[in-house]
């Protein structure tokens, strides 16, 4: 009897032991890691791969096929103001993400979410066991840290990011349990998930509490010693901003110590060295379908250069593995084609397709009543629009790679309508003259220029800055010539970009040449040229925009504009995507009818270059201002053969 009992007991423990062994060993077969990490794991300085990964890692759908580990992704970065070079390769890992085609919002850091029926409350579920790049656990407390200690702190965040502001005020975030967080706006906010998938959704998951709390008075009574030790900071707020700066400023990329959830982590700071280096995050939470932990590529280097032309030479020499920024301009295409064999790279398409790349932004809220009256006359704007020879601009400046168009959603967008794009775009001086006459500018002086309602020559001063490689100054000279042909006096004032911005944000400009997003899916979240909005770069009715945010400020707009504000609120409150699309369509109808800005040109897709052995490169790659691509997808790119081409 005793022997039998013993035997059963033995059997039981044996089975239990086998199960235990199976449970601990099995994931080691399931998940694989980069060989470059093996040594650290064997030496015990890094936990095994299944301990580093969350319980349910994100299985990322790759573009072509699962890849091979190894290699260094080599790029170039400008010595200043080029932080987006980093943001767009490694910076974008939010709670949710857009799929690689920019059509649908998918899980990312959050493994799932629930939306209330009226789209006012959003509950995100996080991945259990997920870790920051230094190995510390990531959970709901980190999100609450961002919300309570940073977002609600008026010293650190005097002005809140609009992503987190609903129509009735800032979002309320609450922790449900360690892995569930609720975002509640108290009123419908149908665009919130989209916004969270765009770049600025990053805030929520970018503030590691275990690291950053040491720089806060609340958590560290001995903070002053840290402040004293940092010569670039005078008080704790400055210190905190140095350590936890926003991602779209250089600050974020100047603190390599800050743990992140990104696929690669900085090894040194951007700006003061000849090369910025980022190395793989051994705790990255994504795997491919074969269970290989991402990213495939070991590290990314950014060689700092001062001049865009040097980047081209580096590309010709095969020193650039993947890049669209700075190189992908029509003017560079010929020389890049000539050196394709030598540099061993090929082209891919980039859908950087804004609403319009060249827009005459007339100031509808002009401080001078005479100019305001003329500019607000739709006939005047129609006349000016017909006066411009768009095709000639396209042929001369863009090598034909563009189409004449108004500022509008593009063909292929679900919001596209032909009349949005084509109205008043034909080059017809007769028609132009007719409309300008109808606008009351029918008298001319002895030099043939039209007189304004005050009897003086009507002059518009156009500000123009040389930006984005879009050749605005050259275009503006052409435009001034077309205007003179119909008797309009346009004066061109070249300026630098910061002065241009300070002038138009002070509402002191007549008009300027700029561009506008909203050509594709971003029309919903960034309708800068369809609805008056406060913006750092786009100003065509600043006072109305201010009124739209706060009815006690700015200037009350006409009813048609108020209707557009109402329509946009309805878009945001729409409970279903279908409803949202219909409301947005109505808004666009109204906005296009108003004809606020005069669009000239929509560009063809631009291009980027990738070395011939780079795989899983999205082609075409969608990209836009708010959409910080390809960062959520660089982790799945790899080198065939596991290393760079020689």
């Amino acid at each position: 009897m005793t022997t039998k009992n013993n035997k059963i007991k033995y059997l039981e423990t044996g089975v239990a032991g086998a199960i235990m062994a199976f449970a601990t060993v099995m994931p080691a077969y399931a998940y694989e890691q980069a060989p470059s990490l093996d040594e650290q794991v064997q030496a015990g300085t890094l936990p095994a791969v299944d301990e580093r990964l969350p319980k349910e890692p994100l299985v990322l759908e790759v573009v072509e096929q699962p890849g091979e580990y190894g290699g260094t992704l080599r790029r170039a970065i400008l010595g200043g103001g080029d932080q987006h070079n980093l943001v767009r390769t490694i910076g974008s890992d939010n709670l949710v993400r857009w799929d690689a085609n920019w059509t649908e919002v998918r899980p990312n850091i959050a493994k799932s979410w629930e939306v209330s029926a009226d789209a006012s409350s959003f509950i995100f579920e996080l991945r259990e066991g997920m870790r920051w790049s230094d190995g510390a656990p990531f959970n709901a407390d980190d999100i609450m840290f961002w919300y309570e200690d940073i977002f609600l702190n008026s010293d650190l965040t005097p002005n809140k990011d609009p992503t987190f502001i609903g129509s009735t005020g800032p979002v309320k975030v609450s922790k449900i349990d360690d892995y569930k967080v609720e975002f509640n706006f108290g009123s419908p906010n149908g665009l919130f998930l989209q916004n969270m998938a765009y770049g600025f959704g990053y805030h929520v998951t970018a503030y590691p509490k275990h690291y950053l709390s040491q720089f806060m008075e609340k958590y560290n009574p001995d903070l002053q010693t840290l402040v004293d030790a940092e010569p670039a900071a005078a008080d704790w707020i400055q210190l905190f901003n140095l350590k936890a700066g926003p991602m779209d400023t250089p600050l974020f990329w100047q603190n390599p110590d800050r743990p992140t959830l990104h696929a690669w982590n900085l090894r040194n700071a951007y700006g003061s060295t000849e090369r910025v280096v980022a190395e793989r995050n051994p705790y990255y939470y994504k795997v491919d379908e074969k269970g290989q932990q991402l990213p495939y590529i070991d590290r990314i280097t950014y060689d700092q250069v001062e001049d865009v032309e040097t980047i081209l030479l580096k590309a010709f020499n095969g020193e650039i593995d993947y890049m669209l920024r700075h190189v992908g301009r029509p003017a560079n295409k010929a020389s890049l084609t000539d050196n394709m064999e030598r540099g061993k790279y090929h082209f891919f398409d980039v859908g950087d397709l804004p609403g319009n790349i060249m827009i005459l932004m007339l100031n509808l809220n002009h401080p001078d009543p005479v100019k305001r009256e003329v500019i607000n006359n739709k006939d005047f704007r129609i006349g000016l629009s017909h006066a411009v020879n768009r095709q000639e601009i396209i042929d001369l400046l863009y090598f034909g790679a563009a189409i004449p168009a108004q500022t509008a959603p593009r063909e292929g967008s679900e919001l596209y309508k032909e009349w949005y794009l084509k109205q008043f775009t034909e080059f017809d001086t007769e028609l132009a003259n007719k409309h300008l006459d109808m606008a009351g500018l029918d008298k001319r002086d002895d030099e043939g220029f039209r007189l304004g309602p005050d009897g003086k020559r009507f002059t518009l001063v156009f500000l123009v800055a040389d930006v984005f490689g879009l050749q605005y100054p050259d275009a503006m000279e052409l435009i001034a010539g077309y205007a003179a042909d119909v008797g309009l006096d346009i004066q061109v004032r070249a300026t630098d970009r910061s002065r241009l911005i300070s002038l138009h944000t002070a509402n002191e400009q007549d008009a300027y040449l700029w561009n506008c997003s909203g050509g594709q899916a971003d029309a919903y979240t960034a309708p800068l040229c369809y609805v008056p909005m406060i913006s750092n770069s786009v100003s065509w009715a600043r006072l109305w925009a201010e009124w739209g945010v706060d009815n006690t400020r700015g200037e009350e707009p006409p009813q048609a504009v108020k209707d557009i504000f109402t329509a946009y609120n309805e878009v945001k409150a729409a409970p279903t995507p279908e409803e949202m699309k219909n409301r947005m369509g109505e808004l666009l109808d109204m906005s296009m009818e108003q004809f606020f800005t005069i669009g000239l040109v929509q560009n063809n897709p631009v291009f980027g270059i990738a070395r011939n052995n780079m795989r899983n490169v999205p082609d075409p790659l969608p990209i836009a201002g708010q959409l910080w691509f390809p960062a959520p997808y660089t982790a799945q790119m790899y080198f065939e053969g596991g290393t760079n081409l020689p």
């Binding site: 987006h84 010569p231 280096v277 300070s502 406060i534 786009v538």
Partner: protein, 326 residues
Amino acid sequence: MGFCLRRIMYMIPTLILVSIVTFIIIQLPPGDYLDSLAADMGESGSDNTAVVETLRQQYGLGQPIYVQYYKWMKGILLHGNFGISFEKNVLVTDLIWDRLGWTFGISIMTLLFIWVTALPIGIYSAVKKYSFGDYTATLFGFIGLAVPNFLLALVMMYVSFKFFGQSVGGLVSPEYIEAAWSFDKVIDLLKHIWMPIVVVGTSGAAALIRIMRANLLDEIYRPYVVTARAKGMSEFQLLMKYPVRVALNPFISTIGWILPSLVSGEIIVAVVMNLPTTGPLLLRALLVQDMYLAGSLILIVSLLTVIGTLISDLLLAWIDPRIRYQ
């Protein structure tokens, strides 16, 4: 000695004045660093002013200009702290030290290159006036003067890229950027560094050849030269001891200008050739109105000018007995 002290005393008010003027001029254009930052940020689709306002408080940019100046000067004089660079978010001193080293290194080598080439050629073309060699030197001299430095830089980079397959830009090849100093790295550095030296030095050398030639031509027909020759002095010794010494005068009196012009004059070349010197830093700082960085660099260049002038005055007094301390 008294002369020296007096000269050094003069330097102080000069520098104070320079610092004030610098600070005002940098602040003159409308807007500040944050406006340029806002401009760059437009690209992220960030169309809100939230971040910019936060940073404006941090950088103290809302304060009146004299308060900013006072704080800056106080930091420099009391703590040797030139302020922080807004864009790089590190102390200006940390940022420029390394680059000043490279700048001086390249400048001094360029100066040596200029003298080594210009002096003998200048002397030769004066002594052998209207010879084949003189004409050749003159031809190259004029080419050197006429071709803009940056253009020469571009052409040389293109040639070395096209025909020698060399990695262009920077002072070392990409594979050596992070490497520790080694024999191979030095060799690689030498393969690159001659280019900026030749490019920056060419026009300087060309100018000095002409100056040397003209000065020496003035001197070698003077009676004292004839006397010395009549007394049987060897031709080479005679040339070196008297007329060359006198003709060196402009070389020395321009040292004061050469130092700063080498520091600031190579800006475009440094941008084109991607050199880790102060030039690109200054250009970028001015573009984005990174005022403490720009101000400090200009102040340092001014200091160089003043020191250079002092050196050349002292050298002149020593080399040319006709100059008196009055």
